[in-house]
Subunit: 667 residues, 2 copies
Amino acid sequence: MTKFTESKCDVLIVGAGPAGLMAARMLAQFVAYKPDLKVRIIDKRSTKVYNGQADGLQCRTIESFKNLGIADRILSEANDMCTINLYNPVDGVLKRTDRIPDTLPGISRYHQVVLHQGRIERHVIDSIDKVSGGRIKVERPIIPESLEIDESKVDDPDAYPITVKLRYMGEEESTPRQFGHGTENGLFRSNLQSQEEEDAHYQLPEGCEAGQIETVHAKYVIGCDGGHSWVRRTLGIDMVGEQTDYIWGVLDAVPASNFPDIRGRCAIHSENDGSIMIIPREEGLVRFYIQMADRAEQGCRVDRSKFTPETIINQAKRIFKPYYFDITELDWFTAYHIGQRVAPTFSRHERAFIAGDACHTHSPKAGQGMNTSMMDTYNLGWKLGLVLTGRANRNLLKTYESERQPFAQALIDFDHKFSRLFSGRPAKDVADEMGVNMDEFKNVFFKGNKFASGTAINYDPSVIVSKGPKSLGDAKLAANIEIGTRLQSAQVCRHSEGLPMDIQDLLVTNGAFRILLFAGDVTNAAQMARVHKFAEYLDSEGSVVSRYTPADRKRDFAIEVLTVHANSRDDVEMHDFPKALYPKFDYNKVYADCESWHKGHGHAHDSYGISTADGALIVVRPDGYVAMVASIDDTAALDEYFGAFLRQPTPNLGASTEVEWTKVETK
Amino acid sequence: MTKFTESKCDVLIVGAGPAGLMAARMLAQFVAYKPDLKVRIIDKRSTKVYNGQADGLQCRTIESFKNLGIADRILSEANDMCTINLYNPVDGVLKRTDRIPDTLPGISRYHQVVLHQGRIERHVIDSIDKVSGGRIKVERPIIPESLEIDESKVDDPDAYPITVKLRYMGEEESTPRQFGHGTENGLFRSNLQSQEEEDAHYQLPEGCEAGQIETVHAKYVIGCDGGHSWVRRTLGIDMVGEQTDYIWGVLDAVPASNFPDIRGRCAIHSENDGSIMIIPREEGLVRFYIQMADRAEQGCRVDRSKFTPETIINQAKRIFKPYYFDITELDWFTAYHIGQRVAPTFSRHERAFIAGDACHTHSPKAGQGMNTSMMDTYNLGWKLGLVLTGRANRNLLKTYESERQPFAQALIDFDHKFSRLFSGRPAKDVADEMGVNMDEFKNVFFKGNKFASGTAINYDPSVIVSKGPKSLGDAKLAANIEIGTRLQSAQVCRHSEGLPMDIQDLLVTNGAFRILLFAGDVTNAAQMARVHKFAEYLDSEGSVVSRYTPADRKRDFAIEVLTVHANSRDDVEMHDFPKALYPKFDYNKVYADCESWHKGHGHAHDSYGISTADGALIVVRPDGYVAMVASIDDTAALDEYFGAFLRQPTPNLGASTEVEWTKVETK
């Protein structure tokens, strides 16, 4: 007898890989605010992945993790890459021809690092649990079997236009069949993975039984179900792109080798046997991407049984010559066939979305897959959260596709070029037109580093990115800031005690927008008068802070104002600033762009191109991207910017969590 | 009916405050090595402290925590102090007269921070549990009732000359009566303290009952039982020193004030009403030390009932004038009477030791108490561990008192001077001889910062500190290193991939000594030949590494050799070095003192005053202190140094945990 049940939820996330978990993490903060919001995340596998898989973390991903409160733990476990070593044939012998930095100096506070995907997912899951107060749990093994959208209801914000039928799976059918996993003796077990191993058993959610069918009525669904995405196919969205005929083997192993840079990131082109990329990992492991001699035939499936650890290791031995290569421990292996494909659309009616591998697939060697997947839902999550909690209009949701699809396309184009240069045979001389010019390869690799870091993303003008000819405000007031990119960090000192801090650390991912008031030189009385006038605006009933802050919330809940002045802490006191800039004596709101004892001067105004005579307002989105630059006097631009997509919330008259502050005056 | 039991243990630690917990943590690593080692720690209180108490962490303490693997978590919770603000009367009005850095730039990688003692203890307890594999647990509430030493047995390393009778306590008698705690409504509860609150209930160890008497036969006992130490009194050791007549009140509170530096560390001298020190803490709390108008009469007990939150706050209001001062939340308060006293001896027969407040008490305002207490047992712990595991002779234990007692005396002298300057009335003019000269105060405060940081500790010559006229080796070869001080950090790059790292991070606290081989410029063939000769010595049967490494342990277990060369990674490969310097292809043994991509050049040779033409050997103790400097050729100095206190271990023929490495040769 099949058990049938029926339920409602606000968001159903299909797939608990990096994209799905980040979606859940971003929505968790809104669940904490509005506990009746129902967010579910399901996965068809009975257990988490615990070896192999993607593991590079790019700068922008780490910056985002920092603002989610999970970067420090991840970095303490990860391996910092550092240098890329280029090896090429020189007079027929493989030699190191160059070294370049793995992360270009200056593009971020962080460097690219590597850590096993299972550990990264563990930290995101722990954070979901903590932030949502245990309200969002991954439910597994569950598979969706049908998905329908009632198009007549898609524009009604309170409707549940999505209907999904879910089936609870049995143990046999849900066991992950990971190619290569479990086939070797002597598997290398990281001592970091005990929690993963504890989780690795079949268990349906409480009260559910195998075979049960649940009909879910949802406001939104997000397909994060990987390269063969069932959600994408069900929505009728096709992937566009092509496949190469190159096949690569992958080993996660402890190497035994006299190759000089066996613990360094390397790009190795042998003369005639193909290429290798080395990615040194945590805990003594090294990942090897090894180009196989076999080629795929267009339109045919590759016979995977030909690729065993032995054939891959033997191929590596050939490429590494004259160096000796073998392994002492094998953790995981696989083989794949490079393809670059992207979905032309990421949504149906802004009710059903796809994210991550479900909408873009490419080669793993630039370390982009997991990063782009998580950044997709880092983008979507806050938008959906604001709409679901009645704080933004549905027009905000259109910007998910308009921001992420062009980036995915650019990534595919980059990977197309990069992987062909990597898989190609090195040119023997300038006349060898079929070969790859190694100078060109180095150049693409070097420039590609900035692209790959995620810090170069520059979103087009939209309702939330005010730039270009018709923009609000005045971009010139912060000449070095590119509106539409993430705010690069700069050091400022917290006024209350002079502690040097990174501005990026103030941009906690909690759904709030920020107005950074760069106040400039406030010892100039006229400039201080402008600051006071801006504070009067904030205190007024019509200000964006007054209008968009729910009645029961602190003043920094929806739009947080942070002040950075350009004076020494000896020349101006925090109490010289109007109280609207530090509501209830909050010592975390006012900063000085000045000399510190231990870390020098941050020169934040200078680095952003802001004149200390004029100052500027910088509006930063909840995901850390710069939305608008405006004059301190231009409060009309704030009104217009936020008015285009925010909704005035229904006042929630629940108990305030704040303590009233005694008014303090100098006697 | 009283239950009587009898037992044996290697070490009995009395008191589970900072000193006792650090003793247990240091011994935990030896328990991990030798699981039949029995280390016990008992405390008479039924629960841990969870508010108030000491909370400053000095630079050297944090450096030590880093090597114990607990610094990062503690720092993520702590509040970084930063600036000290000096306030004095100027023409009768309280004004800020100066700002100085709280931690002198350049003395350490870390700055002084503050965190609640309960959190620090929590991290140490977690680490004890992890490192000892759950074999060391705090047992409470248990009180010692008698202690005897059989002097005829003290020189026999295998004997149990200590007999202690323990009594298991009832709930009523073991509840901590902390002055001030629990007396106020509206207690400020840190969300970090849930674990402490969970622990806060009465529970005897399993199988024990209240009133039970246990007779313990121990090899060693450590009294970490505080200022009124029962162990010290039982051993007949008197404290020497005196008390002032100043009384100070203490508040941990969330302030409401328009005082400009209420969230900064301040030293405030009012004209006639006494002084205040402000210590900004984590989670919005601020600690105030407030000098009371009442004085103590010599020889009489102070009537504590006179000191309530109201009297202390009212006194603060007077001192803060013309600024307004009040509090919105009170977490804890107390009052104390300054005294400076120190024990002349820290041990009886090197079998019974005292540590922490049990042997030195002073005023809390320089933030020294908890730090000095933990550093006492950080010093004792590795020595006792080496002796207990048969790896060192008992003569090593004499250096505990010879190193820590003079430091405690110096601390008492510093505190005596500092606290009188702090408690004194500011001089009205140069003729006011009864007043304190504020320039002198600032000067002592500034200089005292280096002393207070713990980085200035310089141990005298001993069997483990080879310096002075009769020293081994040649101190001149590292001209900027002061033998007997902790090794200051310098940046080097791990050769295998070029990652910049701090040398101090390599000095993991695991009971191992280190020989840092500063190899200098090894592109010079003669210098490389010296390095190869040194490696031959290491490989020989008579080398200190071969002699003192137990048979079943890795080559780096007792004495780890780390190589730092002064060449670019492009000019020399790791495999150019002899294999003895990276046993079993361990990529964590060879470092380059060279330029890095993101953090510049560390100039480690230069900063230590080591010539790249000559190089040097630096011997570092398990606690990070420099023991000896010698020439690369002077292996005789190594033999003599280690021979003076290490014992050749009994080979342990248990199973090796290592994987054999395939020998690799270039073909």
